[in-house]
């Protein structure tokens, strides 16, 4: 069977050359990091903190609809910024070079039910190292949604769209449970004790957040208890839906490839870069959109350089795209509607039995065909 790399005409020598190009790009960008990046993330943290304060404050006037709505909007903004541009990126170690304890991946804690330490293990390590390797990257469908032809169909998969909707609604807690991962216990890759410890930590963390959102702040607003509780719940829901949409656009849109464990066994750094690119998809948008996505809309660049500050991804995107064209590797990008549309289509398609053709068996691409595909995209 041809591997994905062979299908793209990439020999080991070509992959090595690819690795050198990316290492040098990485070196260039790392050398530019400095005060500007720190000022940016601190400004974002200030915006997030003030919107948290503003949101909590306006709910004291929640009996007036504009204030209630403003409160929901400000809290949603705060949670989205915290989870995406700030939390996700700081926990990746993107700002470890600053030596600032407030921006340190080892000390940071975020406004998410999933404790930072557990999330770092399965996300930074498992997902980013084994991206899109079926059976190893547990983010492929999160164990409940069938998104891969490699997963055998069962009648339970008919519920695919429902499961996806359910996961979207409770996404924050879904991530926490994903870290606990009872599936791995069943497979014997994790002991009960480990899973129980993860669950205990996860419940404690999500408990403190729930106490804050659904008891403490509602109680502070006295007679407005229910109004505040509802606003907090709505802000959490908005954050969940947004995060689900952006994150599902990272690896599941049409054109993203999957890899088998065999072809990644002892892979070269070049193959690793290749896999990151082919397994990820970008979303087009304006500056504000990218910030609200935590720059995960530059998923390809993020997967190439997960610990480079995310605000730099847009800057290097043209160079990454240029490398893709020269090596005949597709650069998967599109508007949110196209990318998310194809994710939804995939979730529906895989609810049904059958094996749509995986990318590995696609005809080899030459730089020319890849380039013309890009033009057409």
């Amino acid at each position: 069977m041809t591997t994905v790399a062979e299908a793209h005409g990439l020999t080991p020598a070509k992959l090595d050359a690819l690795a050198r190009e990316f290492e040098s790009l990485r070196g260039d960008i790392a050398a530019q990091l400095g005060g500007e990046d720190v000022r940016y993330i601190r400004r974002l943290i200030r915006v997030q903190r003030w919107s948290e304060v503003g949101g909590r404050a306006s709910l004291f006037l929640g009996f007036l609809p504009p204030f209630w709505l403003a409160g929901v909007a400000a809290l949603s903004l705060s949670k989205i910024l915290d989870n995406m541009e700030i939390g996700h990126n700081v926990l990746h170690g993107q700002y470890d070079w600053t030596n600032d304890p407030a921006l340190s991946s080892t000390d940071f804690e975020w406004d998410s039910s999933c404790p930072a330490k557990g999330w770092q293990h399965y996300h930074n390590y498992l997902h980013h190292t084994f991206t899109n390797i079926t059976k190893k990257d547990r983010d492929l469908g999160y164990g409940v949604i069938r998104v891969s032809a490699e997963t055998p169909w069962s009648p339970a998969n008919l519920g695919n769209p429902l499961y996806a909707l359910g996961l979207a609604v409770i996404f924050d807690h879904g991530i926490m449970l994903h870290d606990v991962d009872f599936g791995q216990v069943k497979e014997g890759k994790k002991t009960w004790a480990e899973a129980k410890l993860s669950l205990k930590n996860g419940l404690r963390k999500s408990g403190t957040l729930a106490f804050r959102d659904y008891i403490m702040w509602p109680a502070f607003t006295g007679p407005l208890f229910l109004s505040t509780l509802l606003a907090d719940a709505l802000a959490n829901l908005i954050r969940n839906l947004w995060a689900f949409m952006i994150i599902f656009c990272g690896h599941f849109p049409r054109g993203t490839a999957e890899f088998t464990e065999e072809e990644c066994e002892g892979e070269s750094k070049g193959h690793w870069y290749f896999r990151q690119m082919l397994g990820s998809a970008n979303i087009k948008g304006g500056r504000l959109f990218h910030i609200m996505c935590g720059n995960l809309s530059y998923q390809i660049e993020h997967h190439l350089f997960p610990d480079i500050p995310a605000r730099r991804y847009g800057q290097i995107a043209p160079q990454v795209r240029d490398i893709c064209e020269r090596y005949g590797i597709p650069y998967n990008t599109g508007r949110l509607s196209r990318q998310f549309g194809s994710v939804v289509a995939k979730i529906f398609r895989f609810a049904l039995p059958g094996r749509p053709k995986p990318v590995a068996s696609a005809p080899p691409r030459t730089p020319e065909t890849a380039a013309s595909e890009l033009m057409a995209a």
Binding site: E23, D37, S105, Q120, H121, T129, T208
Partner: protein, 373 residues
């Protein structure tokens, strides 16, 4: 009511404040209330020591003297101790040790640090050029066992070289503030007269205070000071004939301290000699150098370096640090480098401590290192 046997309870306002802080912290979870207060007052913190720069003086061509007002978490210091000052340069936080130079007694809670800019010293150069009033810096609690005794010794000998003057300056100022009267000799070595920190103050003190003797040596300007050359037995005889009976405190470059140790050992008075080392940043480390020891500070384990990445060496030493990808991307293994220099196995870049974050899976020790593991 006789409640003398009960442990003293905190005063009510302090207890209320603590309770209030707990409520605020729960409401502000997961960040805690600090992260909100610092939006409006950067120098306030409920646990970190931060200080505001209230005065900046550049009295010699290569130095800067900073007066700092620490926040309420600063618990004071003893004369001779140092603090770890953290300052941000182009987005990167750097930490260096500086000794307090002011008296450890007296009103107010200000502290004074004098920093001499070294050609290779990134932090000292930066402070010399760019320190400004109103700036916020980070501090550690005062540290170090190089301290002036609580009881007055019959004779006090303070010897310093270059920027090593600061802790002994604090000792001299503390001695004067405590109205001690036993004789004290202050022997200082500077390269040039213009470089000597606190020269005016020391000369004025020697002229007016009882039993304070000042001896200045300018090693690059023979004939200009009170003596010439470097520390020898003759220097000690000339400055303080009873030196062998004195309690001596020495801070300065390594050769000065070595000479002092040798001289005191010769007369069998090593236990009356107290020294404080200050070393320049080890930027000279060569990338190929694998000799050295690796200390895992928190586990109190030390091994001879074998030139492999720290993660592997830690595991070989029986430790089980958290790790993930082992290729430098996931930051699971990030640890604090407490001292020494490491080389990035991927890029070849050198990083030097103290207190910087490193990924131990791709960091190879260069010479002696200590990591928090």
């Amino acid at each position: 009511m006789a409640t003398g046997v009960l442990p003293a309870r905190r005063p009510l306002p302090a207890r209320l404040l603590r309770q209030a802080l707990r409520v605020f912290n729960a409401a502000a979870t997961p960040y805690g209330v600090d992260r909100y207060v610092e939006l409006v007052r950067p120098s306030w913190s409920s646990n970190e020591i931060r200080a505001k720069v209230v005065r900046v003086e550049r009295s010699t061509p290569r130095s800067v003297t900073l007066t700092l007002r620490p926040n309420g978490n600063w618990a004071g210091f003893q004369a001779g101790q140092y603090t770890q000052l953290s300052v941000e340069i182009d987005g990167v936080r750097h930490t260096r040790c500086y000794s307090m130079a002011n008296a450890a007694v007296g009103p107010g809670r200000l502290i004074e640090l004098s920093v001499t800019a070294h050609p290779e010293g990134r932090v000292s150069q930066h402070l010399r050029q760019a320190a400004r009033m109103g700036q916020t810096v980070g501090l550690s609690a005062a540290q170090g066992a190089f301290t002036l005794p609580e009881c007055e010794p019959p004779r006090l000998l303070l010897i310093s070289g270059g920027s090593g003057i600061t802790p002994v300056m604090s000792m001299l100022r503390t001695r004067c503030a405590r109205d001690w009267t036993n004789p004290v000799t202050f022997l200082h070595y500077a390269l040039r007269e213009a470089d000597m920190l606190y020269r005016d103050e020391l000369e004025a003190l020697a002229a007016t205070a009882a039993n304070v003797r000042l001896v200045r040596v300018f090693t690059e300007e023979p004939g200009r000071g009170d003596l010439d050359g470097f520390l020898t037995a003759a220097h000690l005889e000339a400055t303080e004939p009873g030196w062998a009976e004195a309690e001596a405190f020495v801070c300065g470059p390594a050769p000065l301290m070595d000479s002092a140790r040798e001289l005191f050992a010769r007369v069998g008075r090593d236990d009356h000699l107290h020294t404080e080392a200050f070393t320049l940043a080890q930027f000279t480390a060569e990338a190929g150098n694998v000799d050295g020891t690796v200390r895992f500070g928190a586990s109190e384990i030390g091994v001879a370096s074998d030139g492999r990445p720290l993660l592997i060496q830690a595991e070989a030493a029986g430790l089980a640090p958290l790790s993930g990808c082992r290729m430098g991307i996931c930051h699971t293994c990030t640890r604090r480098l407490c001292a020494g220099v490491v080389r990035d196995a991927v890029t070849g870049d050198l990083t030097n401590g103290p207190d910087v974050n490193i990924r131990i899976c791709v960091s190879v020790p260069v010479g002696d290192v200590e990591i928090d593991l």
